[in-house]
Amino acid sequence: MLLLLALFTWPAFAVEPREMLTDPALEARAREIGRTLRCVVCQNQAIDDSSAEVAHDMRRAVRERLVAGDSDAAVYEFMVARYGDYVLLKPPFKAGTLLLWLGGPLVLLIAGAALLVAARRRRAVPIPATEPLSAEEQRRLDALLGR
């Protein structure tokens, strides 16, 4: 837990008023995008949450593209072209990330299937009659029941 601190080596002042766009709709889109882009010098921080110089530049780049009329997808493309897939906090679905994306569902499927098979097999086996109580056990049961 203490290492949490190492992650926030920058004081946590993120988006600054001077960099915000005047058009609230565009600014909202910029924030939406900013939450999913990684500040490339920080550890697991989105550019919106980081006050690193690079994050500041990246936020400005996003806004410049939006003002220039780019769609959200075009902005992502632009950032990926500049910084690589590394910049996306939600990694793209491709060969290298197949296991990452499908690992969880795969665990669920395999374990679920195994459980179903086990349940079916169990149903096939008749439930054996329980062993009758021994005389000693019957005596203790009677004593417990107050008979």
Binding site: M1, L2, L3, L7, A12, E16, A46, L89, G104, L108
Partner: protein, 649 residues
């Protein structure tokens, strides 16, 4: 001399741990009572010695003994006393000593409260516990000695990271460690059971209080960390899916699964093999968490390779414990007799579904946390896995979990009907549908996932209440076991947490504005005026403090005083947020850059239901403690009347 005493105590503790890890084990397999009894004495002695070492280090910190390198690196004479004490575990060496301390205290607790355990089981548990202790004590002595001296002695220390100088974080590590390390007891019980070759309801009952206590502390520790992040980081987030957070979430998920599967062992003598495996995995995830945080592997795979001694040690230890545990499991588990039979639709079936989903969640977090490391190591490609990934993969699996969680308690053991259970949930179902629709219409204006999640939160609370009311109606309140009451509290609390997360995560409002003194801001019906920004001096920092007076409808409402602190040693700026809560929402303000002429950057957030996240988490842990006070755990398990099984060879 005090540091040397501490160092010496630590060495003795290691020697005692070696004895404790071997002789009682031999005694248990030979049936030698004298050797078995040694375990208890050794556990108490070891705990005493580690307490001595920990006390010695604390003394060095309190008196600011700057001849000790660790104190120089992490303390400063001007620090308030509480942070001198919390500084003991606010660094690598000290926090590992805390690990070892809690580990040995748990060992001593087993020795003291384990009167109702069979001698052989207790000695084996204590031996395994000591074997883990050897790992940590050796790690401390050979790679991370907290008592190393320094010459020449510097005049003052470097100071503690200012982010750590906070009441919330001062007590976060000990509580979290109580959870992490508490799982070691469960692990020891699992290994001991494998050695004994028997797992039965009595075993499950002995293990339950330890698992439950560890789980409660883990819950509290995670909540405390999240709360700290919420108020210190200055932008209202509460969970970041950061690897360090994930490191504590994974054992929590596994421990939650374990808590539930152990119930099946206790009540129905089934799922034994799986429960033992889960106990091994839960502690392995604890160790993995420690490895991730302590080895520096998170910063970069390469940083880890540059200073390999510590990381390598923990990695080998992790592999040894996990690998050894799993190997023993593979060898011995087939000898465990499968027990009670049941139909898929039954309480057992519901608890298996719970385990399936919780383990999937844990696997998802594990993949997301380790995948970037592996990809980098194997292909050199860098990839980021952040909150959007987890929102897309983790959250969807919660939906079936929450849906089933509500139904499970209505199902009977062995075989049950799903129809009557659903019928008894009809009111809860109707209320949560209405809640989701109201949320969608009134707050979002359209159907959203947030509204759906809100409905799920209400569903959890209502379903738990329905179950409770059902019991009361049937006149069973007076005889209701505390464990059942605890379950109701914890399940409902989960709903409260969900509501808090939805409110804060989806429905918060933000305002970032540059404001000059005397200027007014309107924010969702609140009128805020920046009265002044003044400079002030703390014990070891200087600060700017803004005074924001808040009025509602012209009437004074509250005053917010966010600060921006600059710590002197080490030099670092920290935001001190100011939060006004009415338990339904937080009004949250931070002070950013600025000066008198330009104005100051003020950030305001309105976070609906935010306090519920931590109130819910506290309630969840409280439910655990209520269950812990259950009578059956206090009186212990009934004595075995049949002769003991042959000990393992």
């Amino acid at each position: 001399m005090i540091p040397e005493l501490g160092h010496f105590a630590l060495i003795l503790a290691l020697a005692v741990a070696v004895v404790q890890a071997t002789l009682p084990l031999v005694g248990a397999s030979r049936g030698d009572v004298r050797l078995m009894m040694l375990g208890r004495t050794a556990a108490l002695t070891q705990a005493f010695l580690v307490v001595l070492a920990f006390g010695a280090l604390t003394q060095c910190y309190v008196t600011s003994d700057f001849s000790v390198a660790n104190v120089v690196a992490n303390s400063h004479s001007a620090k308030p006393l509480i942070y001198k004490i919390s500084g003991v575990w606010g660094n690598h060496e000290g926090s590992m000593l805390l690990w070892a301390l809690i580990l040995s205290l748990f060992g001593a607790a087993v020795a003291i409260f384990g009167d109702n355990l069979p001698d052989s089981l207790r000695s084996r548990v204590l031996s395994v516990q000591a074997a883990i202790g050897i790992g940590f004590l050796a790690f401390l002595l050979f790679t991370s000695n907290p008592f190393e001296r320094l010459s020449p002695v510097p005049l003052d220390g470097n100071g503690l990271n200012p982010l750590l100088q906070d009441p919330g974080l001062a007590f976060h590590p000990p509580i979290l460690y109580l959870g992490y390390v508490g799982l070691s007891v469960t692990f020891s019980f699992a290994i001991a059971a494998l050695l004994e070759g028997r797992v039965d309801p009595a075993w499950a009952r002995w293990v339950r209080p330890w698992t439950l206590a560890a789980w409660c502390f883990l819950t509290l520790g995670i909540a405390l960390g999240s709360w700290w992040a919420y108020y210190i980081l200055g932008w209202g987030g509460f969970w970041f899916w950061d690897p360090v957070e994930n490191a504590s979430l994974m054992p929590w998920l596994a421990a939650t699964a374990l808590l539930h599967s152990a119930i099946v062992v206790e009540k129905r003598d089934a799922l034994k093999s799986w429960t033992v495996l889960l106990a091994i995995l839960a502690f392995s995830l604890s160790l993995l968490g420690t490895f991730l945080v302590r080895s520096g592997v998170l910063t970069s795979v390469h940083a880890f390779a540059q200073d390999p001694a510590r990381g390598l040690f923990i990695l080998c230890f992790l592999l040894g414990v996990t690998g050894g545990g799993l190997a023993l499991y593979a060898w011995r588990a087939p000898t465990l007799q499968p027990g009670g039979l049941f139909q898929p639709i039954s309480r057992e079936g519901a608890l298996i579904l719970n385990n399936l989903l919780l383990c999937t969640l844990a696997a998802t977090v594990l993949l997301g946390t380790l995948y970037p490391l592996f990809l980098d190591l194997v292909t050199g490609n860098k990839v980021s896995v952040g909150p959007p990934f987890f929102n897309a993969t983790f959250v969807p699996i919660c939906a079936p979990l929450f849906a089933a969680l509500a139904v499970g308690p209505f199902l009977g053991w062995k075989r049950a009907e799903i129809g009557p259970a659903l019928l008894r949930l009809r009111i809860a179902f109707a209320v949560s549908i209405v809640a989701a629709i109201v949320a969608a219409v009134a707050i979002d204006g359209r159907a959203t996932l947030a509204a759906l999640a809100f409905g799920f939160g209400v569903w959890l609370i209502m379903a738990s209440l329905s179950e409770f009311v059902g019991r009361v109606r049937r006149g069973r309140l007076s005889t209701m076991p505390r464990a059942a009451i605890g379950m109701t509290i914890s399940h409902a609390a989960l709903g409260v947490v969900v509501l808090g997360c939805v409110g804060t995560g989806a429905w918060n409002t933000e305002l970032i504005r540059t404001v000059k003194a005397g200027e007014r801001i309107s924010f969702l019906g609140y009128e805020l005026t920046l009265d002044k920004v003044e400079a002030l001096r703390g014990a070891n920092y200087i600060a700017d403090r803004a005074t924001l007076s808040v009025t509602v409808g012209g009437k004074p409402y509250t005053t917010l005083t966010p600060e921006r602190r600059m710590f002197i040693t080490p030099r670092r700026q920290v935001a001190e947020t100011s939060i006004h809560t009415n338990l339904l929402r937080d009004l949250y303000a931070t002070l950013g850059e600025g000066d008198a002429t330009q104005g100051w950057v003020i950030r305001l957030y309105l976070n609906p239901l935010a306090p519920w996240i931590w109130l819910g988490a506290a309630m969840c842990a409280f439910g655990g403690f209520v269950s812990l006070s259950d009578r059956r755990l206090r009186i212990g398990a009934p004595r075995r009347t049949r002769p003991m099984a042959q000990p393992a060879e």
